[in-house]
Amino acid sequence: MFQTRARAALADKGDQDMTSILEGKNLVTKFHTVDGVVNAVNDVSFSLEDGETLAIVGESGSGKSVSMMSIMGLLPSPPAKVESGQALFNSKDGIVDLIKLPYETMSDIRGGQIGFVFQDPGTSLNPILTIGKQISETLTRHLGISGREAKDKAVSLLAEVGIPDPTLRYDAFPFQLSGGMRQRAMIAIAVACTPRIVIAAEPTTALDVTIQAQIVSLFKQLRAKMGVSTIWITHDLGLVAGLADRVLVMYAGQILETAPVDELYENPKHPYTVGLLGALPRLDTQESKRLVSIDGTPPDSTIPIHHCPFAWRCTHAFERCWNEKPALASVGEKHTVACFYAVEKG
């Protein structure tokens, strides 16, 4: 199944052993636009363990989605270009570097071994194909089963993701379904081929809170049943608390902090993480103090930054923060933070 260049990608990696299922190494992605070069992802490294749910949290423009799209080769090029870095995926056929894979092999992996759920089910589904057709297309493409078999499997998948009257809905077009139902259909496509990883980019942002609760509970059920590793990209720290095993906080294209979920909420180290948590109103308290707001706005991503990207907005910034860029350093078990203040003075 592997083409020559795919073998090359395989060979590059050698037989280095890998405990995690996905490992991003020093990823750099830039957009070359008429207004200048946008530094979307600046040296991002992370790993996803088998069976783990990893949440990537950040505000708009933090690079959380672009970093995942870079790995999956889903960015339009030009203007986007993955300048450097590796994305090692422990695939069925051994360890491969997703960045170097040729298009054909990559499309075998996308949808087959790595499933995707996007934010807006209204625009990510094909409007002129029935949802049943879109699911069975994935099945015939990746599993090589017949059309009839695929239809049966698609109907049972629709039932599994909680769509009522699956046989009837198989022939429904996306516009005939509500936002919540479309998102369920998209989840059915993502898990159709029992992938090893599901990447969900803001899958509940467009949905109402009661529907969000339904989708999150569906995700948890599927995860328990299939043992699939999940990357959940979101801006909602509240949602992450009840969902993730480990959290990665991104800002201005960089990772500022990573920690297991309990540790991050109880013992946040980076001033940005502390600020984000303070900016959230809480339902579980009676009194209403003023929210802690982070003054200022994120930096312009067209200007290369050679110091801490948060220094402008940070109340703890000192000389060193303006002179060099902090790297992720360990401050506890599985807890790393890129901040001179947290490591030296915190």
């Binding site: 505000e59 708009s60 509500s178 919540g180 139902m181 109402d208 809170v209 009661t210 529907i211 969000q212 609760a213 339904q214 509970s217 801006h235 909602d236 720290l237 509240g238 949602l239 992450v240 608390a241 009840g242 979920v261 309990d262 909420y265 600020g275 984000l276 948590l277 303070g278 900016a279 959230l280 109103p281 809480r282 339902l283 579980d284 009676q286 209403s288 003023r290 929210l291 802690v292 707001s293 982070i294 003054d295 706005t297």
Partner: protein, 331 residues
């Protein structure tokens, strides 16, 4: 003490008619707002929450008479603004303002910040010349914008800054009442906190009352004194903000409050969620009886036939449910 509320809304209805059929000769009636009543006191914030399509924004706009109400009355400072002549209403408009959701679409891209902020003052003929300039500077300082940016255009500002421009515009005429229609939902978390703090500070300084429309329950709880929960064109529950969350009486409110994520992994693991089945029905074809009954975990026969009226179940705590206060067992 019975002080008159600043705003009293009584049985407000707004029905839209959507033409159907080949030549649009028939029409579907959409009851976007169907019998909403509430009071708002001076200097108070009333939060209006609900899911998309429940009629919360339409309520806000109908209260301001941006939409002509189908039925019902809106009393502002004891004057019925649904029936007073247009001239008198225009005078009242200096006291009623609005902040819109989308800071990108609701500012004219060809106008400078100064033109935008001063527009209400110019329209109402309140100020001109240097007085106007000074007022714009004062307003920009008030909302935390650098007043040297007066000649800039909206595209030169970030989302949070644009929302500040919109707030400055609304406050320019010293209103008593501002409708804030989802003023923070287009903003990032750290910027949301800036805008919410600004709104609260301004309320303390200027004594302005807000009707704060949003779908984010945690934020509504944070900013409001009282909260009204809407479902399919009706208010199903109205109470003080702590009562709504500590003692929700309507099953919809119970499920809504249980569905809101809490930023604490420990609490999240312990929580019992009430996950509703299905999705809100279309307001063009609402269910008979109680509009919530098809999704309600405690619905009985009476709910399918009789529409529950909103009633004061506990002092200051209103709910529209035949079985208000019944706990939901199956979580």
């Amino acid at each position: 003490m019975t002080t008159q509320p600043l705003l009293r809304v009584i049985d407000l209805k707004k029905h839209f008619y959507i033409p159907t059929g080949l030549f649009g000769q028939k029409s579907i009636e959409v009851k976007a707002v169907d019998g909403v009543s509430f009071d708002l006191n001076a200097g108070e914030t009333l939060g209006l929450v609900g899911e998309s399509g429940c009629g919360k924004s339409t309520t806000g706009r109908t209260v301001l008479k941006l939409y002509r109400p189908t039925a019902g009355n809106v009393f502002f400072d004891n004057k019925d603004i649904t029936s007073i002549p247009a001239e008198e209403l225009n005078k009242l408009r200096t006291r009623i303002q609005m902040v819109f959701q989308d800071p990108y679409a609701s500012l004219n891209p060809r106008h400078t910040v100064k033109t935008i902020i001063s527009e209400p003052l110019v329209i109402h003929g309140l100020m001109k010349g240097t007085e106007l300039d000074d007022r714009v500077k004062e307003l920009m300082d008030l909302v935390g914008l650098n007043s040297s940016y007066m000649k800039r255009f909206p595209h030169e500002f970030s989302g949070g800054q644009r929302q500040r421009i919109m707030i400055a515009r609304a406050l320019s005429v010293n209103p008593d009442f501002v409708v804030c229609d989802e003023p923070i939902s287009a903003l990032d978390v750290s910027i949301q906190a800036q805008v919410v703090n600004l709104l609260q500070n301004l309320q303390e300084r200027l004594g302005v009352a807000y009707l704060f429309i949003a779908h984010d329950l945690s934020m509504v709880k944070h900013i409001s004194h009282r909260i009204a929960v809407m479902y399919l064109g009706k208010i199903v529950e109205l109470a003080g903000r702590n009562q709504i969350f500590s003692n929700p009486l309507h099953p919809y409110t119970q499920s809504l409050t249980s569905a809101v994520p809490i930023p604490s992994p420990k609490l999240e693991r312990k929580r019992q969620r009430i996950i509703l089945k299905g999705e809100p029905p279309s307001p063009a074809n609402p269910p008979k009886g109680c509009v919530f009954h098809p999704r309600c975990p405690i619905a009985r026969d009476i709910c399918r036939t009789d529409v529950p009226q909103i009633a004061e179940v506990q002092p200051g705590h209103f709910a529209a449910c035949h079985f208000a206060g019944t706990p939901i067992q199956n979580a």
